[in-house]
Protein backbone atom coordinates (compact mmCIF):
# COMPACT_ATOMS: atom_id res chain seq x y z
CA UNK A 1 0.00 0.00 0.00
CA UNK A 2 1.36 3.41 -0.92
CA UNK A 3 1.84 6.19 1.59
CA UNK A 4 -0.95 8.33 0.18
CA UNK A 5 -4.72 8.37 0.24
CA UNK A 6 -6.12 8.55 -3.30
CA UNK A 7 -9.77 9.49 -3.15
CA UNK A 8 -12.42 10.67 -5.59
CA UNK A 9 -13.62 14.24 -5.18
CA UNK A 10 -17.31 13.38 -4.76
CA UNK A 11 -16.40 11.20 -1.76
CA UNK A 12 -14.42 14.04 -0.17
CA UNK A 13 -17.34 16.39 -0.76
CA UNK A 14 -19.77 13.94 0.83
CA UNK A 15 -17.51 13.48 3.84
CA UNK A 16 -17.08 17.22 4.42
CA UNK A 17 -20.81 17.83 3.94
CA UNK A 18 -21.58 15.19 6.55
CA UNK A 19 -19.20 16.82 9.03
CA UNK A 20 -20.75 20.25 8.42
CA UNK A 21 -24.26 18.85 8.80
CA UNK A 22 -23.57 17.20 12.17
CA UNK A 23 -21.52 20.07 13.58
CA UNK A 24 -21.16 20.70 16.53
CA UNK A 25 -21.46 16.96 17.16
CA UNK A 26 -18.67 14.80 15.76
CA UNK A 27 -19.61 13.11 12.50
CA UNK A 28 -18.26 9.66 11.65
CA UNK A 29 -18.37 7.03 8.97
CA UNK A 30 -16.61 4.65 6.64
CA UNK A 31 -15.79 4.60 2.96
CA UNK A 32 -15.65 0.97 1.92
CA UNK A 33 -13.67 -0.37 -1.00
CA UNK A 34 -13.06 -3.72 -2.68
CA UNK A 35 -11.04 -6.28 -0.72
CA UNK A 36 -8.56 -6.75 -3.56
CA UNK A 37 -5.61 -4.77 -2.32
CA UNK A 38 -6.51 -1.78 -4.50
CA UNK A 39 -6.91 0.51 -1.48
CA UNK A 40 -9.61 2.37 -3.38
CA UNK A 41 -12.40 4.05 -1.37
CA UNK A 42 -15.67 3.67 -3.27
CA UNK A 43 -18.79 3.38 -1.15
CA UNK A 44 -19.58 6.25 1.19
CA UNK A 45 -21.25 5.07 4.40
CA UNK A 46 -22.07 7.83 6.90
CA UNK A 47 -22.73 6.37 10.33
CA UNK A 48 -24.72 7.52 13.31
CA UNK A 49 -22.57 8.83 16.13
CA UNK A 50 -24.24 6.93 18.95
CA UNK A 51 -22.45 9.16 21.46
CA UNK A 52 -23.95 12.30 19.78
CA UNK A 53 -21.24 14.34 21.37
CA UNK A 54 -19.12 17.32 20.37
CA UNK A 55 -16.05 15.57 21.75
CA UNK A 56 -16.58 11.82 21.24
CA UNK A 57 -17.88 9.50 18.58
CA UNK A 58 -18.76 5.84 18.56
CA UNK A 59 -20.57 3.65 16.05
CA UNK A 60 -23.65 2.07 17.61
CA UNK A 61 -22.83 -1.58 18.24
CA UNK A 62 -25.73 -2.97 16.18
CA UNK A 63 -24.84 -0.62 13.30
CA UNK A 64 -21.26 -1.81 13.53
CA UNK A 65 -22.28 -5.46 13.18
CA UNK A 66 -24.55 -4.68 10.25
CA UNK A 67 -21.78 -2.67 8.57
CA UNK A 68 -19.16 -5.41 8.89
CA UNK A 69 -21.59 -8.13 7.78
CA UNK A 70 -22.49 -6.05 4.73
CA UNK A 71 -18.84 -5.41 3.88
CA UNK A 72 -18.05 -9.11 4.25
CA UNK A 73 -20.96 -10.00 1.93
CA UNK A 74 -19.72 -7.44 -0.61
CA UNK A 75 -16.06 -8.46 -0.32
CA UNK A 76 -15.27 -4.99 0.96
CA UNK A 77 -12.98 -3.58 3.59
CA UNK A 78 -13.07 -0.23 5.40
CA UNK A 79 -10.57 1.75 3.31
CA UNK A 80 -11.35 5.04 5.02
CA UNK A 81 -12.61 5.54 8.57
CA UNK A 82 -13.45 9.19 9.04
CA UNK A 83 -14.64 11.46 11.79
CA UNK A 84 -14.71 15.16 12.53
CA UNK A 85 -13.28 17.32 15.26
CA UNK A 86 -15.54 20.27 15.84
CA UNK A 87 -13.37 22.55 17.97
CA UNK A 88 -9.87 21.17 17.58
CA UNK A 89 -7.43 20.49 14.77
CA UNK A 90 -7.75 17.60 12.32
CA UNK A 91 -5.14 15.53 14.11
CA UNK A 92 -5.73 12.20 15.88
CA UNK A 93 -6.22 12.60 19.62
CA UNK A 94 -4.99 10.16 22.23
CA UNK A 95 -8.49 8.66 22.28
CA UNK A 96 -8.47 8.30 18.49
CA UNK A 97 -5.20 6.41 18.67
CA UNK A 98 -6.29 4.16 21.51
CA UNK A 99 -9.37 3.05 19.57
CA UNK A 100 -7.78 2.72 16.12
CA UNK A 101 -8.10 -0.99 15.33
CA UNK A 102 -8.07 -1.27 11.55
CA UNK A 103 -4.38 -1.50 10.63
CA UNK A 104 -4.99 -1.06 6.88
CA UNK A 105 -7.45 1.81 7.04
CA UNK A 106 -6.80 5.44 6.27
CA UNK A 107 -7.99 7.44 9.25
CA UNK A 108 -9.35 10.67 7.85
CA UNK A 109 -9.98 13.63 10.06
CA UNK A 110 -11.90 16.72 9.14
CA UNK A 111 -12.05 19.76 11.40
CA UNK A 112 -15.10 21.99 11.30
CA UNK A 113 -13.82 24.40 13.93
CA UNK A 114 -13.76 27.21 11.37
CA UNK A 115 -17.16 27.91 9.79
CA UNK A 116 -15.62 28.79 6.40
CA UNK A 117 -12.51 26.67 5.98
CA UNK A 118 -12.42 23.01 6.86
CA UNK A 119 -9.19 21.07 7.41
CA UNK A 120 -8.93 17.59 5.93
CA UNK A 121 -6.02 15.29 6.74
CA UNK A 122 -5.32 11.59 6.53
CA UNK A 123 -3.30 9.21 8.69
CA UNK A 124 -2.32 5.62 9.16
CA UNK A 125 -2.51 4.53 12.78
CA UNK A 126 -0.74 1.23 13.36
CA UNK A 127 0.34 -0.18 16.74
CA UNK A 128 -0.35 3.15 18.36
CA UNK A 129 1.81 5.09 15.92
CA UNK A 130 0.45 7.94 13.77
CA UNK A 131 1.83 8.54 10.29
CA UNK A 132 0.34 11.40 8.32
CA UNK A 133 -0.03 10.94 4.59
CA UNK A 134 -0.91 13.26 1.72
CA UNK A 135 -4.39 13.13 0.20
CA UNK A 136 -4.58 12.93 -3.59
CA UNK A 137 -8.05 14.03 -4.70
CA UNK A 138 -8.95 12.75 -8.17
CA UNK A 139 -11.89 13.30 -10.51
CA UNK A 140 -12.13 9.59 -11.23
CA UNK A 141 -10.04 6.52 -10.52
CA UNK A 142 -9.74 5.35 -14.11
CA UNK A 143 -7.48 8.16 -15.23
CA UNK A 144 -5.92 8.88 -11.88
CA UNK A 145 -2.44 8.11 -13.12
CA UNK A 146 -2.64 9.63 -16.61
CA UNK A 147 -1.74 13.12 -17.63
CA UNK A 148 -3.22 15.45 -20.30
CA UNK A 149 -1.07 13.89 -23.06
CA UNK A 150 -2.12 10.31 -22.42
CA UNK A 151 -4.62 9.03 -24.97
CA UNK A 152 -7.21 6.43 -23.97
CA UNK A 153 -6.81 3.04 -25.63
CA UNK A 154 -8.75 2.72 -28.89
Amino acid sequence: MGAVLTIRRDLVDALVAHARRDHPDEACGVIAGPDDGSDRPERFIPMLNAARSPTFYEFDSADLLRLYREMAANDEVPVVIYHSHTATEAYPSRTDVSYASEPFAHYVLVSTRDPQEHELRSYRIVDGEITEEPIEVVESYRFAHTGPDDAPEQ
Binding site: E26, C28, V30, M47, A51, S53, P54, T55, F56, Y57, E58, F59, S61, A62, L64, L65, Y68, I81, H83, H85, T86, A87, T88, P92, S93, R94, T95, D96, S98, Y99, A100, S101, E102, P103, F104
Partner: protein, 92 residues
Amino acid sequence: MAITVSIPTILRTHTGGEKSVPAAGSTLAEVIDDLEANHGGLKQRLVKDGALHRFVNVYVNDEDVRFAGGLDAKVADGDNVTILPAVAGGSR
Protein backbone atom coordinates in the same frame (compact mmCIF):
# COMPACT_ATOMS: atom_id res chain seq x y z
CA MET B 1 -21.53 -28.49 15.46
CA ALA B 2 -18.93 -26.25 16.99
CA ILE B 3 -19.20 -22.55 17.66
CA THR B 4 -17.78 -20.38 14.89
CA VAL B 5 -15.85 -17.31 15.99
CA SER B 6 -15.16 -14.44 13.56
CA ILE B 7 -11.83 -12.81 14.21
CA PRO B 8 -11.25 -9.16 13.26
CA THR B 9 -8.17 -8.19 11.22
CA ILE B 10 -6.28 -6.83 14.19
CA LEU B 11 -6.50 -10.10 16.16
CA ARG B 12 -5.59 -12.44 13.30
CA THR B 13 -1.96 -12.41 14.37
CA HIS B 14 -3.09 -14.76 17.13
CA THR B 15 -4.89 -17.14 14.79
CA GLY B 16 -2.24 -17.50 12.11
CA GLY B 17 -4.18 -15.19 9.84
CA GLU B 18 -7.44 -17.11 10.07
CA LYS B 19 -10.58 -14.94 10.02
CA SER B 20 -12.83 -17.65 11.36
CA VAL B 21 -12.00 -20.33 13.93
CA PRO B 22 -14.03 -22.98 15.76
CA ALA B 23 -14.42 -22.96 19.52
CA ALA B 24 -16.27 -24.78 22.29
CA GLY B 25 -18.03 -23.63 25.43
CA SER B 26 -21.45 -22.95 26.86
CA THR B 27 -20.75 -19.37 27.94
CA LEU B 28 -18.72 -16.63 26.30
CA ALA B 29 -16.15 -16.92 29.11
CA GLU B 30 -15.66 -20.61 28.29
CA VAL B 31 -15.43 -19.87 24.57
CA ILE B 32 -12.75 -17.26 25.22
CA ASP B 33 -10.79 -19.67 27.41
CA ASP B 34 -11.06 -22.25 24.65
CA LEU B 35 -9.83 -19.72 22.11
CA GLU B 36 -6.92 -18.89 24.40
CA ALA B 37 -5.97 -22.55 24.68
CA ASN B 38 -5.72 -22.80 20.88
CA HIS B 39 -4.63 -19.25 20.07
CA GLY B 40 -2.50 -17.93 22.90
CA GLY B 41 -2.61 -14.21 23.54
CA LEU B 42 -6.18 -13.74 22.34
CA LYS B 43 -7.77 -13.61 25.77
CA GLN B 44 -5.83 -10.62 27.02
CA ARG B 45 -6.94 -8.66 23.95
CA LEU B 46 -10.57 -9.35 24.89
CA VAL B 47 -10.78 -9.47 28.67
CA LYS B 48 -9.50 -7.07 31.29
CA ASP B 49 -10.10 -7.32 35.04
CA GLY B 50 -12.67 -10.07 34.59
CA ALA B 51 -14.82 -8.24 32.03
CA LEU B 52 -14.83 -7.60 28.30
CA HIS B 53 -12.60 -4.74 27.16
CA ARG B 54 -14.40 -1.44 26.65
CA PHE B 55 -12.90 -1.28 23.14
CA VAL B 56 -14.27 -4.61 21.96
CA ASN B 57 -17.79 -5.58 20.89
CA VAL B 58 -18.73 -9.24 21.01
CA TYR B 59 -21.92 -10.62 19.52
CA VAL B 60 -23.56 -14.01 19.85
CA ASN B 61 -25.45 -14.36 16.59
CA ASP B 62 -27.02 -10.89 16.24
CA GLU B 63 -26.94 -9.80 19.83
CA ASP B 64 -24.32 -7.66 21.53
CA VAL B 65 -23.39 -9.67 24.65
CA ARG B 66 -23.48 -6.44 26.65
CA PHE B 67 -27.24 -7.03 26.72
CA ALA B 68 -27.01 -10.77 27.35
CA GLY B 69 -24.80 -11.04 30.41
CA GLY B 70 -21.39 -10.15 29.02
CA LEU B 71 -18.92 -12.94 29.72
CA ASP B 72 -21.80 -15.00 31.18
CA ALA B 73 -23.72 -14.86 27.90
CA LYS B 74 -24.94 -18.30 26.91
CA VAL B 75 -23.50 -19.83 23.76
CA ALA B 76 -24.81 -22.96 22.05
CA ASP B 77 -23.53 -25.29 19.35
CA GLY B 78 -24.00 -23.79 15.93
CA ASP B 79 -23.89 -20.22 17.25
CA ASN B 80 -21.75 -17.56 15.62
CA VAL B 81 -19.63 -15.37 17.84
CA THR B 82 -18.42 -12.16 16.19
CA ILE B 83 -15.65 -10.02 17.61
CA LEU B 84 -15.44 -6.43 16.36
CA PRO B 85 -13.26 -3.70 17.83
CA ALA B 86 -15.34 -0.62 18.59
CA VAL B 87 -15.02 2.17 16.06
CA ALA B 88 -14.76 5.25 18.23
CA GLY B 89 -12.63 8.22 19.13
CA GLY B 90 -12.81 11.79 20.24
CA SER B 91 -11.21 15.15 20.31
CA ARG B 92 -9.12 14.33 23.36
